[in-house]
Symmetry: C2
Subunit: 351 residues, 2 copies
């Protein structure tokens, strides 16, 4: 790839700007002297911006972001319980709005236990799987409501919406991803015995697409059972495909068993390329440690690797991943500042 990539950068709140700073240093280092250059536009969005202006993200912001080739996001969200944020839902109004409006129907969350990382599991084995989480449907659609709020007769509903169109496209993506991996295994996770309508749609879709991928071994787990295997035998997983909410839950657990969400990167992908895809660490804004310069920027740097991979800059992506892996292997357990980690990775990229 030769040319200019227009990159929208949303540092966000809390530790977001700190980790994004290091991620951008790594991006600069790995693309330095190459034929691709990144032209960055920074968007000041998040709780801080809401507190200043009273709006979370305007249509103009959204249109401006959509005009870019890709997005790098740090983390958004204010301090939990901050009374000034009660009226706003930064997650829904910003993060989920971007995912939905930019049709990020694949939420890609690789889980790798890097050598040198301490897992809370006594015997994790060889953990290396890809979780493909649906990003635009399920209980995340915001299709709920309540009546008689605040009375004993209150009824609050949440609707999980699942469509043939929406499920098939993410399932196809997951099969293709499994095809490209050596183990060629795909596990559908759902709760078909209880959520019978949505579960049946997911199950039938996987069964139908499986016919076109005869070399992929397919299995199924209920979401409750999947959490068991994630702690007793995570090495059994290769590619997992699941809905938006189950994917949210399982990827935090996956992050935990592979050394913490300080290492977990993610991509919100629009595979059609109609909209820019967005790359972000799985962790949140962590207001409790913000401003101290101690947040681990590794997940943000690995998100840059996913961004490069998505743009077809595979060699650069691999260099970032290798630099991070080498850094973790050598110093992963040491207490280091945010910039120390970033500098160490950059030093390896320069070498």
């Amino acid at each position: 790839m030769v040319g200019t990539v227009r990159l929208a950068v949303i540092p966000g709140d809390g530790i977001g700007p700190e980790v994004v700073g290091e991620a951008l240093k790594a991006l600069a280092a790995v693309t330095d002297g190459s034929e691709v250059s990144f032209q960055q536009t920074e968007f000041s969005l998040g709780a801080a911006r809401y507190l200043e202006t009273g709006d979370v993200m305007s249509d103009d912001d959204l249109a401006a972001i959509a005009g870019h080739d890709a997005i790098l996001l740090g983390a958004v969200g204010g301090a939990p319980g901050d009374p000034r944020l009660l009226g706003a839902n930064i997650e829904r109004g910003l993060l989920l709005k971007l995912r939905f409006e930019l049709d990020h129907y694949v939420n890609l969350r690789p889980t790798v236990l890097y050598p040198g990382v301490t897992s809370p599991l006594a015997a994790p084995g060889d953990v290396d799987f890809l979780l493909v989480r649906e990003g635009t449907e399920g209980p995340y659609v915001g299709n709920g409501g309540a009546i008689r709020v605040g009375t004993p007769h209150e009824v609050a509903n949440e609707v999980s919406v699942n469509t043939g169109y929406g499920v098939e496209r993410v399932v196809r993506y997951a099969f293709a991803a499994a095809s490209a991996r050596p183990r060629k295994r795909l596990t559908l996770v759902h709760k078909t015995n209880v959520l019978v309508f949505a579960g049946s749609l997911w199950k039938r879709t996987v069964d139908a697409v499986a016919v076109e991928f005869p070399d992929i071994t397919v299995d199924y787990l209920h979401v409750d059972a999947a959490t068991i295997f994630l702690v007793t035998d995570p090495a059994r997983f290769d590619v997992i495909v699941t809905d938006n909410l189950f994917g949210d839950i399982l990827t935090d657990l996956a992050g935990a068993i592979s050394g913490g969400i300080g290492l977990a990167a993610s991509g919100n992908i629009n595979p059609d390329g109609r909209f820019p895809s967005m790359f972000e660490p799985v962790h949140g804004s962590a207001p409790d440690i913000a401003g101290k310069g101690i947040a681990d920027p590794t997940a943000a740097i690995l998100s840059v690797a996913l961004l490069l991979e998505h743009l077809g800059l595979t060699e650069q992506a691999q260099r970032v991943t290798r630099a991070v892996a080498a850094d973790i292997a050598e110093r992963g357990d040491a207490k280091r500042s945010t910039s120390e980690v970033g500098d160490a990775v950059v030093a390896r990229l320069g070498a």
Copy 2:
């Protein structure tokens, strides 16, 4: 308590009858010579019965079961993928039907890491918490539907229904349970940032009831974050209160970190006493190991302890729990047959 307890026994499928057999041996041993006697009625329900008769549970079965003082259930469900079961949903038609019809609004799932049990966690700490799962609402209500099934235009919805009435009663139960425990801590788990209507109802209810329990320390975790703490610091939990689906997911994970769901007992409680409460191991029917006499009956035996406790037979309940704990401490990691474990516990109860 003096008198006769009418106990409905539903051994069910797979390993269900095997583990229930041992649980009943323990029940007989601990009540032998006491002033309470158990009069048992066995109900042949489950996949096997469905395959014979074509119905899962009739209204007459339900009425007959409801006429008892308590229920002991083994496990129900046929082999996954058995084509003869495609038309039936044993879980919905039997297990969930019992929970809903008998208004089991508290699904009680204690998690204890017994000394001698190997956890998959490297450093689990002192794990001893009670998960209070709502049992009659949420995405379990069966309030979904689908249109254009099997076409690319299929839409499959699942509705999570939450009511002020339903949430308040289980939250009150959880606060009372926390009051009776030394640490006096309660953690609400939900996903308030995404499921804003249901989440708001749960959050407001906990905040309101908390005012009446000033000695209880209350905190809140998103469900995704809760899975992280369950593997990095499970000792932080005392009482967890959560909805039906999150409770389902978290209790399997809780079972896994405390040595496997072979040890996890549960009670489906109707605290009003209008209907009989039902006690069952958290595990399923495990068709793969059924008939081999190797299933661990410990969870079923511990479910008997919960049953005794519920009936006010606290001393007997404690004897069962102590016998199981002593058995696990001595032989927990040994490979033993189903009846060897049962016999060992019975021997301790006799002593």
